[in-house]
């Protein structure tokens, strides 16, 4: 009631406005909402990975002659980049929890750089940063085989999440610079970014390594 009254009066509602819940403790509504969203998003990825598994498990030839293999060393580097960005994100959350705004901004900036680096790497993997390189030019074409189509659908859906996450980080960084965020905002952002990393861990294994 008090939180509603505060919001109605025009002041921004704060994360700790509600009393601790019997089942969810002091988890904010934003945090619980993000978890529920991530669950639904996880099912989207789950559906894609299931379709991938069914198509691959039921196909006599998965990797057709003439189609390029996926570059494991380069993608392993991108995986490591995402893991590093998860560390910088969790350090941003720690800094925000301790009330260190400048440190929070530095780690958010480093995390965004990790996201931009990953997206650049994915572009290079698909199309090549130099002419005549990239999987598209080497013969892995969407629609030509289940191997190619599932690869592009799953990795580009993940790439869209990295793009969304990077944008989310940059917007939050700008809002933090303006003093408009609190530790809860950074933690909720962190949940999304770690989810992007978590999903990539699974995509890397199922699509690239297996």
């Amino acid at each position: 009631m008090s939180a509603i009254a505060t919001a109605a009066a025009g002041s921004p509602p704060v994360a700790h406005a509600l009393p601790a819940d019997e089942y969810f403790g002091s988890a904010s509504l934003g945090k619980i909402g993000m978890w529920i969203f991530l669950l639904s998003d996880a099912f989207s990825f789950g559906g894609l990975l299931l379709a991938y598994g069914i198509l691959r498990g039921g196909s006599e030839v998965w990797h057709h002659p003439g189609e390029p293999s996926l570059g494991i060393p380069f993608t392993a580097f991108l995986t490591f980049l995402l893991i590093c960005s998860s560390v910088t994100m969790v350090l941003a959350v720690a800094a925000a929890t301790e009330g260190h705004r400048r440190e929070t901004m530095i780690f958010l900036g480093l995390t965004a750089l990790g996201g931009i680096g990953f997206l650049t790497g994915q572009f290079h993997e698909y199309f090549g940063l130099v002419p005549h390189h990239g999987l598209v030019h080497e013969g892995l074409v969407f629609g030509h085989s289940a191997y190619a189509s599932t690869f592009y659908v799953i990795t580009s859906f993940h790439g869209a999440h990295v793009l969304t996450g990077t944008t989310y980080i940059l917007v939050t960084l700008a809002r933090t610079a303006a003093g408009k965020t609190n530790a809860n905002d950074i933690e909720v952002l962190g949940l999304f970014w770690h989810f992007v990393d978590l999903i990539w861990i699974l995509v890397f294994t199922f699509v690239y390594l297996l």
Binding site: L39, A42, G57, E60, F80, S86, V90, T97, L209, L210
Partner: protein, 96 residues
């Protein structure tokens, strides 16, 4: 004065994730000659372990209340069953 956050756990998790990633690549390399079944089992186990580390420590699920942990974890039971049944069925149709 805001609470101090112990960062050691984060670095331990980071190291574990890096080591597991290197192990995954080694297991996956054709030149290592790992047989198919142990390769598939070990890669899936390592991937799920890495995902669990991120969820439990980076996303702080380990420190959440039981209700939130169950809210997040329980819905994955059915997709896991679907995965085993449907992928297994597709493979079975291929080899029978």
């Amino acid at each position: 004065m805001a609470a101090h956050v112990d960062r050691r756990t984060y670095w331990i998790v980071f190291g574990s994730l890096a080591i597991l990633t290197v192990l995954e690549i080694l297991v996956a390399l054709p030149s290592m000659g790992v047989p198919k079944v142990p390769k598939v089992i070990s890669l899936i186990t390592m991937a799920l372990s890495k995902a669990a580390l991120v969820g439990l420590f980076f996303m702080h699920l380990k420190h959440e209340m039981r209700a939130l942990k169950l809210t997040v974890a329980l819905p994955f039971v059915f997709p896991a069953i679907y995965a085993v049944v449907l992928i297994g069925e597709a493979g079975w149709r291929l080899i029978r």
